[in-house]
Amino acid sequence: MTKAKLINFLIGKSILETVLVATIVVGFYITAFPPYFHGWGEATSSAIAGWAVNDNAPWDRVTVQLFIDGRFVATQQASFSRPDVAKAGWSKDEWHGYQFTLPTLSVGPHEARVYALHESGGGTRQTLQQLGDPIRFTTDTTGNNIDLSKTPTSHR
């Protein structure tokens, strides 16, 4: 073994490690954040409502979590009837709706984000993927909410 050969081995080792790390990182990303989840949400007068579908398991119900102004509010299974979603071809059946009743919020603008909860690594890891765009709404003095971003075109 000469030092020239050692340098070649050093370069080979570096390339191999780079490939290994890249493979693991890409594999991990796809496992933890799979591109299967689609959904949409809106603010109604007293709730955040929408739907969520896992394209990889279209008959399964997706667990969704609501965050308002960056703070966790609630979690539920998206299993309410949404025949419009199935009719539009986004799901195989109609049972993919969710509806979070909103807590008392301060008067003024707020932002809601709904996330699909995904488990991987045999249940040891949980990740959140945002469904659709952030839902901007404002709460008036009577406690009613008005959606400021009601453009039902944004799907993910």
Partner: protein
């Protein structure tokens, strides 16, 4: 103007290669800790891949440098003289660890003393000392010479490998300085492994798990 062709200094080439070797082996360990053990939950055993790459590289490097096991410190002739150098700093470290542990949680409990995993510690300590001193310290001396700079480099590498655990990083920086300095005086890996084992057992026994976070390093430190 000189018409001589510029020639590369072989010493510079040797120093560059030694530094590249230290970086490469350290990166293999960091990849094992931060990538393989963290992201491959079901296939964690694949951690053997970067470790085997690193060990293979170290073995080839020893051949290229024509280093024998005796040169590396796998020897018995200077065991007692190395041990003599290690006794005082090791005892001081053990006393400090136990005093801090006693102050934080009281006397060490018997169940923690009897953890079977501790039986593997001498072999693990010998392997760590071989990598740290028998390889990295020797290459650090090639790059920076014997003395303070190379000792500091060895200790820094040892501490970086224990990040982001702040307690372990600080302790390994301190331990790395002492062990690297003593290796440069008396290269004996068995004596260093004995000191390492005693210090590690003291740490596991005396300090509360929440302080050392279960001796976790890499991404596992966070949960």
């Amino acid at each position: 103007m000189s018409d001589k062709q510029p020639q590369s200094d072989p010493a510079i080439g040797a120093r560059t290669l030694a530094i590249a070797e230290i970086i490469s082996v350290s990166l293999s360990c960091l990849i094992a800790e931060w990538v393989f053990l963290s992201f491959l939950s079901r296939y964690r055993w694949l951690v053997i891949v970067p470790l085997l790459l690193a060990v293979s590289f170290m073995v080839l490097s020893h051949k290229a440098y024509r280093e024998s096991l005796h040169d590396l410190g796998f020897r018995s002739d200077n065991f007692l003289s190395a041990l003599r150098l290690l006794v005082v700093p090791t005892l001081i470290a053990v006393v400090i660890i136990f005093l801090v542990g006693w102050y934080l949680t009281g006397p060490p409990s018997v169940p923690r003393l009897l953890r079977p995993r501790l039986l593997l510690l001498p072999a693990w300590a010998l392997f760590q000392q071989y990598a740290l001193q028998g390889y990295i310290n020797r290459r650090a001396q090639t790059a920076l010479g014997t003395g303070g700079k190379s000792i500091l480099l060895v200790a820094t590498v040892f501490a970086i490998l224990h990040l982001p655990n702040p307690v372990l990083a600080a302790l390994t920086l301190f331990g790395g300085l002492i062990w690297a300095a003593i290796y440069q005086r008396e290269a004996n890996l068995f004596a260093l492994a004995a000191s390492h084992t005693v210090a590690s057992i003291s740490l596991a026994m005396a300090l509360p798990l929440n302080v050392i976070n279960g001796l976790r390093v890499g991404f596992k430190y966070f949960g």
